[in-house]
């Protein structure tokens, strides 16, 4: 199968080259473009090592969400004059040493792998049928390690609160400004056509995640991107941070998760244990709630904190 070897070698070389360029280039905007490009190439890499769920997440998060988030952070930093502060040389050396150590460690793991790879994969695959889903990734995320997924969702919520804490005092609870002053007409057209399709695709990816690559996180990122598109095109303003509907949307996912988890004590003997036969509908309920909440969280993370206090 040497044809794929060509592809893989080229992919690796391009990614390494891009990574070096990203660090060396002086223009921050260019580096962020490079970062997004790197994410897209990396997702191809995940596909090549037969990890399509990770590839899908890489596209959604690395290619879409993180790149845009860095852009908006750069915009905020420029507004607050933080771009002129350069990190000190000792700090940069420290970061370099740490990054190098991690890279060496990972390289050593690949070159000298442990004799018997520690893995629970066969055990997980064996009990897949009882979880009610066909995709082993989804089974791990929502059935075997649902607790981790729950904590991760709460972490994203905490990150959002952290971003909100950047709001200047007078602007607390106001709307973040997302749309630019004049919106190009092609963008308006694209937003009106693409967003409904994007929403359908987002829900489709979530639904299909039960048995194929996909799931609520990737679907939520797609929905958040579409919402961001709506806000960027000026079709709808960003919600005010004090809006009750926004806050309910943010909390509904973790709330359902907690409710089902606590009732797991009563019905099946442990936190987040699903009673027999009810696994699939419970997972669906959690996923539906999480879809709304994570989409709202990511969308608001992308929108950032409000800068002026134009209270609604």
């Amino acid at each position: 199968m040497t044809e794929t070897a060509f592809f893989d070698a080229l992919l690796v070389v391009t990614m390494i080259g891009l990574a070096i360029w990203m660090i060396v280039v002086r223009d921050v905007f260019a580096a962020i473009v490079g970062f997004m490009a790197f994410g897209l190439l990396l997702s191809l890499g995940w596909l090549r090592i037969e990890a399509p769920d990770v590839g899908l997440t890489e596209i959604a998060v690395g290619g879409g969400a993180t790149g845009v988030m860095l852009l908006r952070a750069r915009g905020l930093a420029r507004a607050g004059d933080a771009m002129n502060s350069v990190p000190s040389v000792p700090f940069r050396i420290l970061v370099g040493v740490l990054a190098g150590a991690v890279a060496l460690f990972l390289g050593a793991l690949v070159v000298f792998p442990p004799a018997v790879a520690p893995t629970l994969a066969p055990l997980a695959a064996e009990h897949l049928a009882s979880t009610g889903v066909g995709n082993p990734i989804t089974a791990v995320l929502m059935a075997y390690r649902a607790f981790d997924t729950f904590l991760e969702t709460v972490v994203v919520l905490l990150a959002l609160i952290g971003v909100w804490s950047l709001t200047p005092d007078g602007a607390w609870g106001a709307r973040p400004r997302v749309a630019s002053a004049d919106v190009p007409a092609p963008l308006l057209l694209l937003a009106q056509w693409l967003v409904p399709l994007g929403i359908v695709i987002g829900i489709y990816i979530t639904w299909v995640g039960a048995d194929e690559p996909g799931g609520k996180f990737q679907g939520a990122t797609i929905l958040a991107a579409m919402w961001m598109l709506v806000m960027m095109a000026g079709l709808r303003p960003a919600p005010a941070l004090s809006s009750r509907r926004l806050r309910i949307a943010l909390v509904v996912g973790p709330a359902i998760f907690i409710a089902i988890g606590v009732s797991g004590f009563h019905f099946a003997g442990a936190f987040l244990a699903y009673p027999d036969g009810l696994a699939k509908p419970l997972i669906l309920a959690i996923e539906a709630g999480l879809l709304i909440s994570i989409a709202a969280m990511l969308g608001m993370l992308l929108a950032g904190p409000p800068l002026e206090g134009d209270r609604p």
């Binding site: 060509f6 592809f7 223009d27 897209l40 596909l47 630019s180 690559p213 960027m232």
Partner: protein
């Protein structure tokens, strides 16, 4: 067929890599924006070819997501470039 499609994916990736070198070097911000476009269509092409080469039809959904999110990223980056252009810091490598 499998070998052919894998080779085709390689050619597409080669095009993307070579295009990237030129486009990321380009001094203007608009040049760099084109990297997003290039990667978008290129990786969708490569992903689809890989999907059919390996019989992994699930990759089609991934290509769909790629297309959607590359479009979103291209727009977001362009708008950001337009906005910072307006703030008076036009062109120039330093930002």
């Amino acid at each position: 067929m499998t070998a052919f499609l894998n080779l085709a994916a390689f050619v597409v990736l080669l095009g993307v890599a070579i295009g990237l070198v030129r486009v990321l070097r380009g001094p203007s911000r608009a040049d760099r924006l084109m990297a997003v476009q290039l990667l978008g269509s290129g990786s969708v092409g490569a992903c689809l070819l890989l999907a059919f080469a390996g019989g992994r039809f699930a990759f089609i959904d991934i290509a769909l997501t790629l297309a959607l999110l590359a479009a979103f990223a291209a727009i977001a980056f362009s708008l950001s470039a337009l906005d910072s252009g307006r703030e008076g810091e036009i062109g120039g490598p330093e930002s």
